[in-house]
Symmetry: C2
Subunit: 208 residues, 2 copies
């Protein structure tokens, strides 16, 4: 019997996962959490084998699913965490996997796939949705040239429509520095304008 904890802020999704998974004879939903904090608490209790973790917990939440995943898997004897989320982007996927998630599924997965993934997670095997696996492999191939923290910060403000001047004021920098960061961002992303950089970074899930 695989004992499950469902962590999602949407009542409808919780009910849906419960309905889909309860029909499996070897599954038992032992708890539900509507917040990330509550999920961490409940996952610390003994008697949970797999946590189904959403990544988005609404705007009024201090902790996100990736942070909760990290908090859960940090403990010895922790349950496996299977991320089940609506949309996938690099910005979400990689932190979650780095935080110790055993698998990553999308909510539009068919019920059988969901059940298989839960069994795999319970056995300690990984379960990745094909789209996620694809992007992980792509990431392997291209050394990725991730943006530095400062570069990401500057690009984020640019994506909000700020000019170099405004960015420099906001971050207490000179315009030269802002331009310097942006030039690096452009070369790393393989583009040559701020608008293209914003688009490319968004596509790769580096911002927003």
């Amino acid at each position: 019997m695989i004992r499950l904890l469902i962590a999602d802020d949407h009542p409808v999704v919780r009910a849906g996962l419960r309905a889909v998974l309860e029909s499996e004879p070897d599954f038992a939903i032992v708890a539900e959490a509507a917040t990330a904090e509550r999920a961490v608490e409940l996952a610390a209790e003994p008697g949970v084998d797999v946590v189904l973790m959403d990544l988005q917990f609404g705007p009024g939440s201090a902790m996100n699913g990736a942070q909760a995943t990290a908090a859960i898997t940090a403990r010895p004897g922790a349950p496996r965490v299977l991320v089940v989320t609506t949309y996938d982007s690099d910005a979400d996927t990689l932190p979650a996997l780095e935080a110790g998630a055993t698998g990553y599924l999308l909510k539009d997965a068919p019920p059988e796939e969901l059940a298989q993934a839960v069994r795999a997670a319970a056995a300690g095997r990984s379960a990745l949705a094909p789209s996620v696996a694809d992007r992980l492999l792509e990431r392997m191939r291209t050394p990725s040239a991730a943006l530095s923290a400062r570069e990401t910060e500057v690009l984020g403000l640019v994506a909000d429509g700020l000019t170099n001047q405004q960015v420099s004021q906001r971050l207490h920098l000179s315009q030269a520095t802002v331009k310097s960061h942006l030039v690096h961002v452009y070369t790393k992303l393989g583009v040559d304008s701020r608008t293209a950089a914003v688009r490319e970074a968004r596509r790769r899930g580096l911002i927003r």
Copy 2:
């Protein structure tokens, strides 16, 4: 007894809505549809009072929820359509409401709110999520100054990172025309740079 049709491409969401709504004694789920086309077919059958309609039906779908809503409500004696979707943006909301949706809810609504909305829809009353209602009122106050088709087209390419030169080539225009369109876009959106325009248009759901 209110007879319901659930139209959503996610099995988990269908199960969740079914679980939440079946617990109401005056509701009966009489059908489910995993595609927009199937929803239109089933809604044409007699014996459906309210259709719970998702707007997104996956990339491999020819018809979206708004189009399905229009097809359903076009018929005399058609059931009410209550849009229940994950995220809200102006780009989705208004077409759906113009297509004849009776209400617009987000999936993170609590079960009671969902049930109330279904009863309101069945009675022909409107049910809007607060965030949606807010934006409708805001839209009333600001005469909105919608972008023209051409302006939207140009802005869309700008959002893809193209320069004015590239846009002019793509659309077989002169750069002067592209700049002219963009100036109009900027004044309509109240911004003064392409990046800010992209951000603002995205925020308002005018593009992407």
